[in-house]
Point group: C3
Chain length 350, copies 3
């Protein structure tokens, strides 16, 4: 796209947009401000990157309305508008080449079971295995080597990347993305202890249901319910290597960072943010908009919406930060005790 | 099954069993007490669920011998006996449809190496790859896309789900279940530091041995030994995303929750319970029946059987809980120091 | 190899090497000193294993120059030299059978895309899928079921084990080893929050680049950059189940233990050692030769090379260990406060 075309495209979405410098350069792709080459577009959404404006090699920078233009590098044009971050995200989408997860149509090497229903414009990759009675909605893509056992339902416009495993009965919504190596619907970890100390496997009869517009990272595990369903809501975002145990319910638009572990029968509200490597005891509940700091260990329910939690056992952020500050200051407490003891000894010796 | 058939089945196992209400309803499946519909059976094994008895829609509830029957919902029958939990687990197995991990027989798309020995009634799924000299016992199932490298031995009645990888020389017992995405026998993480700061790979010549009746979750990693074997005992239960490093020995009937990490050459006793996200330093040993709390970091051996550990570095539960209570009370300690300082200043000013 | 052949092989590398005992026994493999059988070679590199010398069944033990020979078991020969550990590692390589990740040549069931370039002596396993325009260097091996999407470049002498997924545009160097279940180049976890609380996916346009001589464990996830590249340096060693987020840069010869999680845009220096289950906040930087203790949580950058970090939030080792000691001693501090309070009450009552 020419710079003038980018200006016109952004101008069709944002008001008060200004182009400074030449509009005739051809922009071939995006780059970070400190790595951009001639022909690339970059952005500044944070004051601390302003210093790069003077010597970036980007041909175009998207920046905030008040960004000063005096020191901009020669040969660099600037588009100024109120929300440069969102503007740049939209440009990223313009420059994004769609990945070919699977070639159009059903690969000749894919194995399709009996009574499978496949929508229009579905792509199924090499060596994919689709079990009996599966349903795949219009425009969805199943990557190479993915395995759907029996009775799996996939909505429309959903992308299952290569090497995903869905156990029997899994239900996946529309516009969902599942990355490689993820296993959905394996048996929950349920065992009844026997008198001799060994364990009896509790049959896991339920399934997993995943809502529309959810994205699930790589090598994630989401276990099927013992009875009923493990439920992932709509618009949920799950990072790599996350564990979600049987019978969990994850509320709509909740975000879970990498390597977090959600134990069995936990219910998370909507719009929560769960930090990386956080862990949860079983059977607890968090209200909507709860934030959990990375590495926290949640040991009980918190019913008030909108709070932030941290620590192990986790407590509301303010109390926890105050406690941690006190704990870091323990050295000076010890010194004050020593000083008191010295003064006391002196007083008593009089 | 009719309710009377369920009563007769449970009556053949348990004594002192009583049916209250109609026995003629057909029960089609199990459900949780708060989600059950007409035609379903549920259970109450915990007093706090008693309140559901009045308005459940379940046609049958399995409950304890002393559960009061006055307020039971109309149309709901009750079977009372001493151990409703185990009784319901047995019913779950009755209603469990076996999953078809692979259709009977050897899929035409499976690749079988040379000198492979396959028992009676074995199922091997689509695109499975079985290396030279593998041995697969009677009635075992190898899921679609699973890869067994050379010289892998699988016992009888074992289920390897789809997308499992077993490196060369892995030995798996009888009645074992391995879930999808799990990698058994990859190289241990062993490198000899060189003088220039780089690392020389230490060959990993050993293998992994997995005992009978063990269940291994999804996306687990169990590394082969440098020499000898990494040994998983009998009846061990390993949850998703667990890491077991080279040369570990996990005792019989030990349970390891999700995302725990066991470093190299650790020996765990029998009947241990390891919490989620717990971590172990290398080369240490825990006695039989050791419990490790979630997120603990075990930094040394504990040779006394039956203890519970918690914290990082972990110590026996009672000491650790006492320490954590003291640490949470640090704010009041600070206030007491301040009060003492004020009193001291007053005393001295006299 | 005969013992004399082993002596001659080690003598060609090390000086001051002495053989004690018979040289005519045939050595068939290596074993640990406490498990070795007749016909096996073992080693002692640590004084605490000296006690095994008296009753080992090994036919040959590699030991340090000053190891006493009086009490050596009958039938056991000893080779003494200055560095028995490295000597034994070299013997391990001698006895190592190369694993057959894929039979020589391209399996008839592998699917090769258009415009793919394959070097000399490449092996590609059953059901591997190689996307359009991939390049695979000489002597490299692609395991069964591995999937390379479009435009993936693999150097020479590299081994991609079974069940690895490389997304489009991944670049892998020479002499790299990637273990099973690992996913390279999945989308980074980037979402722009919208006013209604939902998230807009930020396109992930970059790729992953992996340097020469790197080894990556099983079920690892390394995400592609949003723009530019996620870069793994040369000689890096990554253990199982590690998460490396988008836009990270891992310096040469850095070692990362199992289940560690590196958040987005983190830069690690060269020769760092990262402990298991350690976690990193985003956008921070560690200098060369930084050591991070297991389970630490790194919350800010540390620019001084060669330091050790521990704790959450992590700080330099010495301060952290001092802080932890003070925190463990909080019980005695409380007792001292109580004693002071009693003394104070006594003083005031006078």
């Amino acid at each position: 796209m020419l710079i003038t075309e980018i200006r016109d495209y952004l101008g069709s979405i944002f008001s008060n947009i200004e182009l400074h410098g030449s509009g005739e350069t051809l922009i071939t792709g995006p780059a970070k401000i400190d790595e951009a080459q001639a022909g690339q577009v970059s952005f500044i959404a944070n004051e601390k990157y302003l210093r790069y404006l003077a010597d970036t090699e980007a041909s175009l920078v998207i920046a905030g309305s008040s960004v000063p233009l005096e020191s901009v590098a020669q040969g660099t044009s600037v588009i100024r508008l109120a929300d440069p971050y969102t503007a740049f995200m939209l440009l990223l989408q313009k420059f994004s080449r769609p990945r070919t997860v699977a070639a159009p149509g059903i690969a000749s090497t894919a194995r399709i079971g009996r009574d499978v229903t496949i929508g229009n414009n579905v792509s199924i990759g090499n060596y994919a295995v689709i079990g009996d009675r599966c349903v795949i909605g219009d425009n969805s893509v199943i990557g190479a080597h993915s395995v759907l056992l029996q009775d799996v339902a996939v909505g429309s416009h959903t992308v299952i990347n290569a090497h995903v495993t869905c156990y029997d009965g899994t239900v996946i919504g529309c516009r969902v993305i599942v990355h490689s190596g993820t296993v959905i619907g394996a048996d929950g970890f349920g065992f009844a202890p026997q008198q001799d100390g060994s364990y009896l496997k509790i049959p896991q009869l339920g399934n997993v249901e995943i809502g529309d517009d959810t994205e699930i990272g790589a090598n994630v595990t989401i276990d099927r319910a013992t009875m009923g369903s493990t439920v992932i809501g709509k618009g949920v975002k799950i990072d790599n290597l996350v564990q979600i145990a049987h019978n969990c319910r994850i509320g709509d638009h909740t975000v879970i960072a990498a390597q977090a572990g959600i134990s069995g029968s936990v219910t998370l509200g909507r719009f929560c943010m769960i930090g990386g490597q956080a862990g949860f005891a079983g059977h607890l509940e968090l209200a909507d908009r709860t934030n959990v700091a990375a590495k926290s260990g949640i040991s009980k329910s918190f019913s008030e919406p909108g709070i932030s939690l941290r620590g192990y056992p986790a407590q509301p952020m303010r109390e926890q930060l105050r406690l941690e500050a006190l704990q870091r200051g323990i050295g000076s407490m010890k010194e004050r005790i020593e000083a008191l003891e010295a003064e006391m000894a002196q007083l008593k010796s009089r």
